[in-house]
């Protein structure tokens, strides 16, 4: 249905971003928490508007922006993720000298980029969303202005990100040249007709894949991830690990999943993605084994998880992919929340040696972090297990047995490094003095909500599964 309503959630977020940026001028530095609370209000408004559009299939700008059920569901996920990130930053930015006020505005802007990306089937609109997201992300990565690593992260992210965007635009140009349109249905129609050589279109698709491969951080486009994750302020890292990644995957779901099956030459694309998935799972997990900095370790773990999610794309398991993203949101944001909990003014404890003995010293942080790590490793009865179960069982049903065998063996490797953190927390004696400021109610709220999410999705995901299946049911399959 063509309706202005399609824009409402997005407008709420953008209006929020602008208002917050403006308010920042008038609010004293000590009271910036209120900016965070104000942004939460805007997020809640956007969430309300999004829920109201469920099942209505609003679209606007000649379907340039289509708020279908999948877009609504992901919008809600993103809103939740950003709300978590805002709650986590409230204290963090004061502690770690990143209290410049822009963080909330930038987060909301990045969020609007995510929302644009997920609610369109037009590659040009998707590109616009991607740029909104990217530009705000570059600034977010460099928010700890006095920390060298933060500057390095921002610069690396910016340089490599622009490079990837350039690839993407070139790919779009090729595709437009071949199909005379950038709307996915028309591109697919062109490939189906296949009059003449599809080489131009395929080259375009390959370049687009490079661009998005960078965003979702799959091997071999992952080089930036550990540095950016390590340098960026930790709440922002939590955002990077779920936001851009999830949006990138939804674009892959909307764009690439339609090609093989429909198009004879699509199998080249299929095998390209197959190879990328295997490389990502293997390299991500193997390199993670050698990390001693937990943020870098989680960076490689997020690369590895991108590999598992690619398996869902290859198996055309849309519901499994979306469920994986939801599960990943809770377990990964939860893990980062626990990392943020382990900090005090001016110091973050991020080396694995810092973790020695903290499990018994800070029981709640230790216990919740253990649950998140076990979930990331795929132990039942957590969300991580069920997510992997759905994805891999769909892949076996699609006949991708070797891929699944590689996947489960790679996840066996991952068990080792996740358990290593738990070993440090519970089975080693403290190596050095770790003294944290425990007083942080917002952080504990996030920890418990994530814990609840991980267990709820792992044991009784009933309603959420129904909603997800409904959200993907309406997707066009070509």
């Amino acid at each position: 249905m063509n309706s202005f309503n399609a824009l409402l959630p997005l407008l709420a977020v953008v209006a929020g971003a602008l208002v917050i940026l403006l308010l920042e001028v008038f609010i004293q530095k000590e009271r910036r928490d209120y900016l965070g609370y104000a942004s939460l209000v805007f997020l809640a408004a956007a969430a309300f508007l999004a829920v109201m559009s469920w099942g209505k299939e609003y679209s606007y700008f000649q379907r340039g922006l289509a708020l279908d059920d999948l877009a609504v569901f992901l919008t809600l996920l993103f809103l939740l993720a950003v709300a978590f990130v805002i709650l986590l930053s409230l204290k963090y930015i004061r502690q770690q000298d990143a209290n410049h006020g822009e963080i909330f505005g930038l987060l909301l802007l990045a969020l609007s980029g995510l929302m644009i990306m997920t609610s369109s089937s037009d590659l040009l609109v998707i590109f616009l969303g991607l740029e909104v997201l990217s530009v705000s992300s570059y600034a977010l990565a460099g928010l700890r202005r006095k920390a060298e690593k933060s500057g390095e992260a921002a610069l690396k992210y910016f340089l490599l990100g622009s490079f990837a965007s350039a690839f993407l635009v070139l790919g779009l140009a090729f595709l437009f040249g071949a199909a005379r349109s950038l709307a996915v249905p028309e591109i697919v129609a062109h490939f189906k007709a296949a009059s003449g050589s599809p080489a131009l279109g395929l080259a375009g698709l390959a370049l687009v894949l490079v661009g998005f491969g960078f965003k979702i951080a799959v091997v071999p486009f992952h080089m930036w991830t550990p540095d950016v994750y390590e340098g960026a302020p930790t709440p922002v890292t939590a955002f990077f690990s779920i936001g851009p990644k999830a949006a990138g995957f939804v674009v892959l779901l909307r764009v690439f999943m339609n090609f093989w099956g429909a198009v004879s030459s699509g199998s080249a694309l299929f095998w390209a993605l197959w190879t990328i998935s295997v490389l990502t799972m293997v390299v991500g997990n193997l390199v993670a084994l050698r990390q001693t900095n937990i943020k870098r370790l989680l960076a490689y773990s997020s690369i590895a998880h991108a590999g598992y999610i690619l398996v869902a794309i290859l198996a055309r398991d849309q519901a499994g992919l979306v469920f994986y993203l939801a599960a990943y949101l809770f377990m990964n944001v939860g893990a980062f929340a626990a990392l943020i909990g382990l900090s005090k003014k001016g110091t973050e404890y991020l080396e694995i040696d810092d973790f020695a003995g903290i499990g018994f010293r800070y029981p709640w942080i230790g216990a919740t972090l253990s649950v998140f790590l076990l979930s990331l490793a795929g132990f039942p009865p957590t969300a991580g297990f069920l997510a992997k179960f759905y994805v891999f069982s769909a892949a076996v049903r699609a006949g991708l047995v070797p891929l699944v065998v590689i996947g489960v063996l790679a996840s066996l490797v991952s068990v080792f490094y996740y358990l290593r953190i738990i070993v440090a927390m519970y089975m080693r004696d403290p190596v050095r003095e770790v003294d944290i400021e425990v007083e942080n109610p917002a952080l504990f709220l996030v920890l418990f909500l994530c814990l609840y999410g991980v267990l709820q999705l792992g044991i009784f995901p009933g309603n959420i599964l129904v909603v997800i299946r409904q959200a993907v049911a309406a997707l066009p399959i070509f």
Partner: protein
Amino acid sequence: MSFPILTFVTFLPAAGAVLLIFVPKEKAGLHRTLALSITLITFAASLLLYFHFDGAVADPQFVEKSGWLGYGINYHLGIDGISLWLVLLTTFLMPIAVLSSWTSIQKRVKEYLIFMLLLEAGILGVFVSLNMFLFYVFWEAMLIPMYFLIGVWGGPRRVYATLKFVLMTMFGSLLMLVAIFMLYSYYYRATGTYSLEIFDFQKLILNPQVQGWLFLGFALAFAIKVPMFPFHTWLPDAHVEAPTAGSVILAAVLLKMGTYGFLRFALPLFPDALEKFLPFLSILALVGIIYGGLMALVQKDIKSLVAYSSVSHMGLIMLAVFSLTMEGVEGAIYQMLNHGLSTGALFLVVGILYERSHTRLIKDFGGVSSQMPVFSAFFLICLLSSVGLPGLNGFVGEILCLFGIFKSSHLLAILAVSTVILAAAYLLWMYQRVMQGPIANEKIRTYKDMNKRELAYLIPIVIMMFWMGIYPQTFLRKMDASVSRLLDRVHNREKIFLREAGSITSPKKAVAGAFALGTSENVPAGFEETK
């Protein structure tokens, strides 16, 4: 029965663990009492299972089934004559394990007991699940408490031991998960409906080659858990490092999950593949018997001696299972219970010694019996039960196992007898060096004999040893029907399948479809590449 007794038994320990979270840390005594009462109530509840269990019925009883996640994933519990005994063994040993760690665990008592209770819930869940998904959830989830129990409360090399235990077990179970996915997918192709029910999968007839791959997936997971030679390397490490109660549960119950897996899944699901791999597996089991026994002979540490004796005994159990005869399989199940009791008891005995001496090296002992006469009697009974002395439980199990093995292969049976000879050698020799002779050093003179708490947990075990040795009918009676059904399924599966095909709309077509799988273009595209 309308009361969901299996759910109650399985989740009561987990509920107890949650309860313990809210008891303040300082009250260690309250924690211990609570944990002991919870495990005792669980045992009492599981006794109801025994009294209401109808031994004449082969099908699972006390069945509870309700939908859970859809697509074949159901909450489906039930026990038959095989799992009944393993459930009882678990609930019987848990209070004993809690009692045995009453004074030896002084550090972080609360967390320790929480993990013990979670472990019990996980193990019980494995034995009562009839849905493959549920089974796998418990199978994996139970690793987490064991990982902590060894890793936090274990000996000096605990981190190495616990990681090795978890990673080796997971290696097998992840491949089993892939095999489960394939069964899931084959069942869907054959019938058009989703199912993960164990008994539905038994109706699926797969082409032998496909069976071979799937069987390997399952067998590897279970062989690591049992553990069969050459996958046993995690066992001595885990046993030596684990705290006493951890060792007891590990040896007595956890290893049985492997043999149970063979009986429940690998045998009835893949009879053709089983036939093909049987000689190979039997030889591995035999090697395990002899290798474990020889290794036990040369151990310097009592605990690792008992650990290697487990490898040997589990080899005999596996060999009896692979004989596929009524005597063999019943003997194997009986021997699983015996091994649980006698090896569990041996670990307890070693724990009692260790609490006094803080050493487990055989050379540090000598002449202990003159100092601890009551203890030495209990030690001897447990040891003789493990050796298989007539009148004690081990004899009945071993003789049944050997009968069964003899029926299927004379040569194997003759070689398998070595388990008894070797057990007598390494156990009695160890007893002689530790308990008899002159008192080896002055420290031994300070040892006190067993106290009431230690008596309280060893006496029930010893009673059971005599009971099982003198009147085995109590136990065998309730497993007959289930075992004969199991063997019937292994031997005459296709006939049964045609008779029972009620759930599949057109049996003939389903059979044809099932046969066709793996031979025609019906094979999933990726599968051929793995061959």
